[in-house]
Structure formats: C-alpha cells, structure tokens
Amino acid sequence: MDLTGPHREDPMENFTPVSALIGGGLIGLSTAILLAVNGRLAGISGIMAGLVPPVRDDAMWRILFIVGLFGGAAAWLLVTGGPVVAFDVGWPVIVIGGLLTGIGTRIGTGCTSGHGVCGIARLSPRSIVATVTFVAVGALTVFISRHMIGV
C-alpha cells in the first residue's frame, strides 16, 4: 500500500474544484463572446451538425470554432503536458458510444454545451429537461456498465 499517495478511502479524493470553476468560467466566457459578437450559441453538437453536410456561407465560422477548440486544448497540453486522457473501454464500446452520442445530440438538438450550458443559462425548459435526462441516463449507464455488467 502506497502511504505517500492519496488514500483510496478519502472521499472525493479526485475532486478538483478550483480548476473546474476556472475551466467552467472560460467555457461561459466563450459562449458569451460568440453570442454577443456573432449572435450564435456555442453548442458543440449543433456547430458540428451544421457541417454534416456543410452549407455555403455558414461553414467557415463552424470550422474555425472547432480549429480554435483544438488550439485551446493544444496550448494547455504544450504548457502543462496535461491533462491525462484515458479510456476504460475498448474500441467496440467507443464506436457504439460515439454513434449514440451523434444520433442522440442530433435528435435531441443539443449536448452538454448547447443544452447544459447555453440552454440552462437561457432558462430554456427544453434544455433543462434534456440536461436532467442525459445526466440521469448517463449516471444510470455508468452504474449498469460498471457495477452490474463490469464493462
């Protein structure tokens, strides 16, 4: 047993409130700028959905937003070398999860950013219902897959 490392018995040992609030604040700032300047909501699935297929005169801002997304994450990776990106499922589950994420966010018109951040900030009843739904179903999915099936 490694007594120098964090104790597994500690509740919420992985809780990172400061970086979570700073990161969240930056995400909020991003949505604020995009709405104030361009009049658009920063919902990532919506921004991507508008590119499959791309529409003339409406594609470039979407592509550049995504390029920016890469750049912001890459800058932090270059400066800090982190964070860790780790998966605990194999590629068949990753393919199924990716398909369901694409289908679900398209049919449900939004994801964690569009409904969970922008929609809740606008007090949209649809976004509040969608967010409660995907968080609850996500938690249930983790419970079933991790604790009952053991995927």
Binding site: G28, W61, I94
Partner: protein, 149 residues
C-alpha cells in the same frame, strides 16, 4: 472576417476551459457520472461555473437589439417538451455514460493524439449525419437541419 476570427477565439477559450477542467479526460467525466463509486463532483462546478458566466452575459447581451457583428441573434424559440427531445437526450446519455465523452471534449481530446478519441469522433460524425435519417424511419415529421445546441 472578424466574425470568423471571433469564432476561432471563442473556440480556443472553450478548448482551454475543457483542458483546464480536465473534461477532455473520459475517466474524469465517468467519475462524475459514477455516483455509486468514487464520486467526483467536479463536472457540476464546470457546468455551474459556465452557466453562471453565461447567465449574466446572455442577459446583458440580449438587451441589445442585435449582436455586435451580425444582423440578429440566432436562438431556438421552441419551449415545448416532446418525445424527440427526451429520447434524443436519453440516447446521448447512454453514449456519454458508456465512454465518458461528449462532443466538445471529444473534439478537443483529438489533440492528444489518442486513437480512441479519433474512433469516437468518427463514429459521432456518422451518428450526427445519420440522426435525421434514422428519425425519418420512425417518425413522419423531419428534424430541423441545424440543431441549435
């Protein structure tokens, strides 16, 4: 031109926020969803912090007649709850819970050069493109071409 640069800058700030808060790490997100395991409530503060900033900024912004560099605000107007919304959110919830990635973090995670992230994004794009067609097989009314969120 400036609108495109704004999108680039907003995207960069968004990506930086996802990286700092570690939302690009599927295990970090799963630790939030795993209420029966070693629960990590960080994601609540990420979303809560983002909503606090957006809530105030949106209110100030939407007092203006139009955006600084565009002719109008492009906002969803629907307020009704339908089966498609709840069903879509539930399908997304299963995908999110299985892997621990949602669309923004999935794209950002690509810069880590991880093959798993690339597989996820490829499958997600197929799902995004297939969504309206799948829906047409089960329902009569079409889904809007561009999802707002």
């Amino acid at each position: 031109m400036i609108r495109n640069l704004t999108a680039l800058g907003a995207g960069a700030i968004f990506g930086l926020g996802l990286a700092i808060s570690e939302m690009v790490n599927p295990l970090k997100v799963k630790a939030f969803l795993d209420v029966a395991g070693d629960w990590d409530p960080s994601l609540i503060l990420v979303m809560g912090g983002a909503v606090m900033v957006s809530f105030v900024a949106f209110r100030l912004t939407l007092r203006r007649p139009k955006p600084i560099l565009a002719t109008r605000f492009e906002l969803p107007t629907r307020r009704d709850i339908d089966r498609r919304l709840v069903g879509g959110a539930a399908v997304f919830g299963v995908g999110w819970g299985l892997v621990g990635l949602c669309p923004g973090p999935a794209l950002s995670a690509l810069v880590y050069g991880n093959i798993d992230s690339a597989i996820f994004v490829a499958a997600m794009l197929i799902g995004l493109a297939a969504g309206p067609r799948l829906l047409a097989m089960f329902a009569a009314s079409p889904v809007p071409d561009v999802a707002p969120g």
